[in-house]
Amino acid sequence: MDVLGHFNYWVAIALAMVGLYAVTARGHLIKKLIGLSLFQTSVFLLFISIGKVSGGTAPIIAEGFTVYSNPLTHVLILTAIVVSVATLAVGLALTVAIKRTYGTEEDDEIEALDRAEDEQ
């Protein structure tokens, strides 16, 4: 159990904590989306850290290298990044639509407006 051997995983977990905190504690929807993307990158970091082989190089076959890092995790994360941007865009579009409908983008105010509508 040494510190250096697990440091990458811990940073990934800390990032996940920050993201989780932002998603749950912050009321502003765009801030929630920022937290969400932090959470996503923490997962990316975890995967790439798992895929790294010490002493290896990038998995592009070339002469003079025998040890390569794991290409599988790279593939998974590569597509995940593009998808994460797409989902971020969908989230932002939803935020804009909510702003247009409710006139606010704070969580609590939207809930209050909903409740007021139910009571009517």
Binding site: T57, A58, I60, A62
Partner: protein
Amino acid sequence: MFLAAAAALLATMALGLTRAFAGPTVYDRVLAVNSIGTKTVLLIAVLGFLMERPDFLDISLLYALLNFIGTIAVLRFIRQRRGPVGN
């Protein structure tokens, strides 16, 4: 030698980060983004030499081409927003 250059770049990135965290106005932060972008271009190039895989240069070429789009987007944002002037 490459290690020393990478260390200098990392130190400068740390300085830029402090400016980004402390920056009194938004523009300080934009400036920090811009300057850290240039440092990243150089850092990736130097790292490519350090790991003896110079085909990493494509990435820094891409950053050199694309990095200023964000700043121009900020300029456009400021031009379009006729709202209150704040921090």
